[in-house]
């Protein structure tokens, strides 16, 4: 003989017999179509792999680093040259290393 518990469990298991399909909200169709339209005009394709993106980023970093290095080296040589010239001017000699050596 089935217990009250068994009857309860059986009732629960059978509670969705004859279940009708849920009706989606009226505006769902419109929202799906909007999403699909937006998808149609997506500019950035998601076929660009992350490896490609990292390579491009690395390339940009390299260019920036080279530029910075060039600026540092160039400005250092300008500073040295300017220093030499102002020294030469001070002591009225030609602003070249030969002039300095002939002092």
């Amino acid at each position: 003989m089935e217990s009250e518990k068994d009857i309860w469990i059986k009732k629960a298991l059978n509670s969705i017999d004859g279940i009708e399909p849920a009706i989606p909200p009226v505006n769902l169709h419109g929202r799906v179509m909007q999403r699909l339209q937006a998808e149609r005009f997506r500019i950035v394709p998601d076929t660009v792999s992350s490896a490609t993106i990292y390579r491009i980023a690395a390339g940009i970093l390299l260019i920036v680093a080279l530029n910075v290095l060039t600026c540092v080296v160039f400005s250092k040589s300008i500073t040295e040259k300017k220093g030499l010239q102002s020294f030469a001017k001070e002591y009225s000699i030609s602003g070249t290393s030969d002039g300095l050596l002939n002092m």
């Binding site: 629960a12 509670s15 969705i16 017999d17 399909p21 849920a22 989606p24 769902l28």
Partner: protein, 171 residues
């Protein structure tokens, strides 16, 4: 039109797994977007409905996993915000709108139990009992054999009985 023809089926199957109408609406949209993106890859080896059900189940399970992850870290939220008024309990028992009125209370218990099933059993049970798919159709959706589907449904039923027994004891 694909959306018109399949919208209700996809929404209904998502609702069975997700147990939340808003989540089901969101995932239904994601399903159709995925179908749109992948339609070129659809070779027609399976029926279109099979393919779409497969996407719907995958998206639904992904959504549930994401929700679980958020829940896991939800304890940290009060540390960063002063939102102490936000209740931290689960939403009220879900009752599928298609369930007959006299069965709604029992169905709420059943849907709570379905939510506790392992993913494969959950999908098989939902597709069979809520969507009304045959074993053969379910095997195509889940990319498995008919005996596997039978086994999944048998184990799902056994697990549901165990869970419902616990619920009964807690009444």
């Amino acid at each position: 039109m694909l959306v018109t023809d399949y919208q209700q089926r996809i929404y209904n199957s998502c609702l069975g797994v997700l147990r939340d109408p808003e989540d089901a609406e969101d995932v239904t949209q994601e399903v159709f977007v995925e179908v749109y993106r992948s339609i070129d890859g659809f070779k027609g080896e399976a029926k279109l409905s099979t393919w779409m059900y497969r996407i719907a189940m995958t998206k639904s399970l992904d959504f549930l996993r994401g929700k679980k992850r958020k829940k896991r870290f939800a304890f940290m939220k009060p540390l960063f915000s002063d939102d102490s008024n936000t209740p931290r309990h689960d939403p009220a028992d879900f009752v599928h709108p298609g369930v007959q009125l006299e069965n709604k209370e029992m169905a709420a218990h059943l849907f709570n139990a379905i939510a506790e099933l392992p993913e494969n059993q959950k999908v098989a049970f939902t597709l069979n009992k809520i969507e009304g798919l045959s074993y053969e159709e379910i095997s195509e959706v889940m990319n498995t054999t008919i005996p596997s589907v039978e086994s999944l449904l048998f184990r799902a039923k056994q697990n549901l009985k165990t869970l419902l027994s616990e619920y009964y004891n807690n009444l």
